[in-house]
C-alpha cells in the first residue's frame, strides 16, 4: 500500500481468525471484515454475516443483480464486477450497486419500425454519446458497449442488437455514462426490433401450426395416449434417432 493512503480503518480482531486457513481483509462500504481467502465477493459478504436480499439473484452471472464497484490498494482505478463471479481480494474497498436508477419507458412494439428514429424518439439521450468508452470499460461481460450505441446512431440496428446480445442488464455502464444513456433499456428495444422485424420468420414453424390447426396429429395422438404401458415402451425403444 502506498504511504499516501489513510491507515487501515479498525484494528484486527484478536479472535475470529479461521483455524488454519488464511484470511484476507475486505472493506464493505468502508467497514473492514476478515474473511477466508478464495471466496467470491458474494460468498465473502455472506460469510461475514450479510444476509442479502438486494444485490443477489441468479448467483451464476446471468441476471446482473450483483454489480459492485471497488478499488484495490494503491490503485486509482475504480473497477466494476459481478460479485458472484469475482474473487474477494485482500484490501479491496467495495460498494454494492444493486440498482441503476432509471425508469423503463413504455412503448408499443407493434407500432415501431426497426430504425434509429424509433429508438431515438424514445431515448433521445442516445445522440449525446461522447464516444468516451467509459461504458465499455465498465462492462463485466466484456461487451463493446460504445460500439453498440454508435451503431444505433449510424442506423445499424442489426449491428447494435448483436453487439448488445450478451448484455445481462447490470446497469454498470449506465452508471458510468456521462451522457446518461439508459443502455439496459436501449439495448432491450434494439434487440426486440431486430428479432421482430429484421430476422426473417421461420416458415416451417408456420407450416407446422397450420397442420396442427387442421387436426393432422389428433388421431395419432389419441391412439398413442390409449396404448398400454408395454406397447408404449416398445414404441419408445424402437424409435429411430436422428444424428446430431
Amino acid at each position: 500500500m502506498s504511504s499516501k493512503e489513510s491507515p487501515e480503518t479498525g484494528p484486527r480482531p484478536v479472535s475470529g481468525k479461521e483455524e488454519g486457513g488464511k484470511t484476507i481483509r475486505i472493506y464493505v462500504m468502508g467497514r473492514a471484515y476478515e474473511v477466508p481467502e478464495g471466496l467470491t465477493i458474494l460468498k465473502a459478504l455472506e460469510y461475514a454475516g450479510f444476509r442479502l436480499t438486494r444485490g443477489v439473484g441468479c448467483r451464476g452471472g446471468f441476471c446482473g443483480a450483483c454489480a459492485v464497484m471497488y478499488r484495490m490498494p494503491g490503485e486509482y482505478k475504480l473497477r466494476t464486477a459481478l460479485a458472484c463471479q469475482t474473487l474477494a481480494r485482500d484490501g479491496m474497498h467495495l460498494v454494492f450497486i444493486p440498482y441503476a436508477p432509471m425508469k423503463k419507458p413504455r412503448y408499443d412494439i407493434e407500432k415501431l419500425r426497426p430504425d434509429a428514429g424509433s429508438v431515438i424518439a424514445i431515448f433521445p439521450e442516445v445522440t449525446r454519446c461522447l464516444a468516451c468508452n467509459a461504458c465499455t470499460k465498465a462492462c463485466p461481460q466484456g461487451l463493446q458497449v460504445m460500439d453498440a450505441i454508435q451503431a444505433i446512431i449510424r442506423g445499424d440496428i442489426a449491428a447494435a442488437a448483436n453487439l448488445a446480445f450478451d448484455c445481462i442488464g447490470c446497469g454498470l455502464c449506465s452508471i458510468r455514462c456521462p451522457a446518461e444513456i439508459r443502455h439496459v433499456y436501449v439495448f432491450q428495444l434494439v434487440r426486440r426490433l431486430y428479432g421482430k422485424y429484421m430476422l426473417p420468420k421461420a416458415k416451417h414453424v408456420e407450416e407446422r401450426i397450420k397442420e396442427i390447426e387442421a387436426g393432422k396429429y389428433d388421431e395419432e395422438m389419441e391412439k398413442l395416449m390409449k396404448l398400454s404401458l408395454e406397447e408404449l415402451k416398445r414404441l419408445y425403444m424402437s424409435r429411430d434417432i436422428e444424428k446430431a
Partner: protein, 563 residues
Amino acid sequence: MMGLVYEGYPPEMREKIRVVEETREERLGQQIPKLSLEEREKLVRKWHPDYREDTKRPVRIGPNKGQVIYREVADLLESWPAVKPGDVDLDNIDYDVDILIIGGGGAAASAALWAVYSGVSPENILIATKLRFGDANTVKAQGGIQAADRPNDSPVRHYLDTIGGGHFANKPELVRALVMDAPFIIRWLEDLGVMFDKTGEGEMIEYTGGGASRRRLHAAKDYTGLEIMRVIRDEVWNKGVNVLEFSPAVELLTDPDTGAVSGAVLWNMEVKAYYVVRAKVTILATGGFGRLHLAGFPTTNHYGATADGIVMAYRVGANLRDLDSAQFHPTGVAWPEAIRGELITEKCRSLGAQLVNANGERFINELEPRDVVASAIIRECAEGRGIITPTGACGVWLDLPMIDRVRGEGTIRRNLPAMYRQFIRHGIDITREPVLTYPTLHYQNGGIEIDPWTHVLRPDGTPIPGLLAAGEVTGGVHGKNRLMGNSLLDITVFGRRAGITAAKLVKEMSGKPRISLKHVERYMEELKRLGVPENRRAPVLLPDYRGERVLLRKLDLIDLAPI
C-alpha cells in the same frame, strides 16, 4: 473488462493436474465398455441420491400423508407458518385485484401477458415476486427450448420422447398440451422479438438434446432463457401490469367456508411488513427447490428457489406428485469456487472429454445416461478417489483438452465458446487444462398436480377453486425426469394456459371473494398433534449462507440491515 484477472488454479491443484496430463496419451483411444442394465441399476441404486435410503422419508401430515419424498421437502411441509394467522389483520386489504400472480420467472410473465391478451385489464393484475422481476431459474437456461416444427419431426414424436424420458410416469394430458402448443409458443416468441438462432432464410437452427430423437432445440446463442425472459418481461412492463418486487407470498388466503383460494399474504423483505392481497384468481409460478440443497448437493438454481409454492399449496390441500425424484446434473462445476454448482454442458462429453479420477484413471463411459454418470462420480469421491479443493469440495477431472487432442486444435474454441469464456474469466484455459466436476442439483421434476388448463388438483382429482399453477412448481409434465429444453417450453405453454384460464374465471365471477387463514389454523392443529418444534417455519424464502461464527453471536438489537 474492468475486473481483476485471476491467476487460475492454485499451486496445490496444479500439482494434482499433472497426473491427468501424464495419463492423457495412454487414455487416448481407450475404450470403457458401457454397463449392462443390471450393472447400471446396481450403481445407481447404491449412489444416486434418488435411491439412497437416507435422503427420503414419508411425510407425516397433510393431503399426501405417508408419501415418501425428499427429507428437506418433508421438513418444509411439516413446518409452522412463517406468519402467525393472528398477527395479520385481514380487514385491512392492501391490494384488491382480479388476478394475483406469485413469482417472477418465465411462467409468471407468460401468465400475465396471456391474461391481458384475454381481456383482463393490466391494472387488475398483480405480479408479486421475491427478488427482482426476472431473478429466476429462467434466465439461467442456456441450452434451448424444444418444439417439433421441422418437417422430419412431429408433435407425436415429441410426445413419445417426453414420456419415455420421464420413465413413463408423466401425466399424458399435460404432455399432449406441451407438445401440441409448442410451435404456437415459438411463433409467439418470434413475434415478440426473441432473437432465435436462424439461417439467413429464417429457418431455425435446431440442436439435439439428450433423450430427443430429433433435433428440436431452439436456441438464442447460449442465453436462451435470458433472452426469452427479458423479452416477455419487457412486454409485461409495456402493458402496464403491476409488479411488486422483494415481496414474496408467505401464505395463501381462502374462503372460510368453501376453501376456495382468494389471494395471499405478501411479506415485504425490505421494510419487513406484510400486505394482504385479495384476488379472484391466484396463480402460483414460484419455480423449483434447488436452494434446499437436497442431500447436501450444490445447485445450479437461482437464490430464491426454495420450494415456497409447494409449501403454500399443500396447506390449502393440493396434491403433490413425483417429489421422490430430483434431477442431478452429472457435471456441475466443483472448482473454481466462484462458479461452484454451475453447469458444465453435456456437449463436452459428447465431443470426447473424459472423466478422470485422482489416480488418472477413467471410471465410467462418459456417454451413459445422466443418473448413471452422476452416480459414478459420487462413488469415486465417496471412495477416496476424488480431488479435494481448497474450499473443501470434492470432484473428479473432466479432461477437456482431450477434445482438441482427438478432434483437432480449435474444436473447443469453435464448439464450446461459452464454456471457454466461463472458465477463462477465472484464469482457467480449458483448451490446456482439465476442469473439476461434481454432480449438482438441477431441477424439481415433480410438484403441484394440475390439469391441462392449470387448475390445481386435490388428491381426489377435484380442482381447488381459485388456484392455478404453472412452471417448475408443478409436477406431471415431466414425470420422473425432465428432458433438456422441455422446461422453457413448459413454463411458456402452461404459463399461457394459466393466463387464459384466469381471465375466463374472472369473467365468470361476480362479487368479491372472502378471505381467511382458516386453512392455516387447521393445518396448525395437525402440526401441534405431531409435535413439530415451533422454530421450524416455512416458507423459508431464502437460503442462509452466513458464517457460523457470525450466527453464534447474532443479536437482533435493531432490525436495521445495512442493505
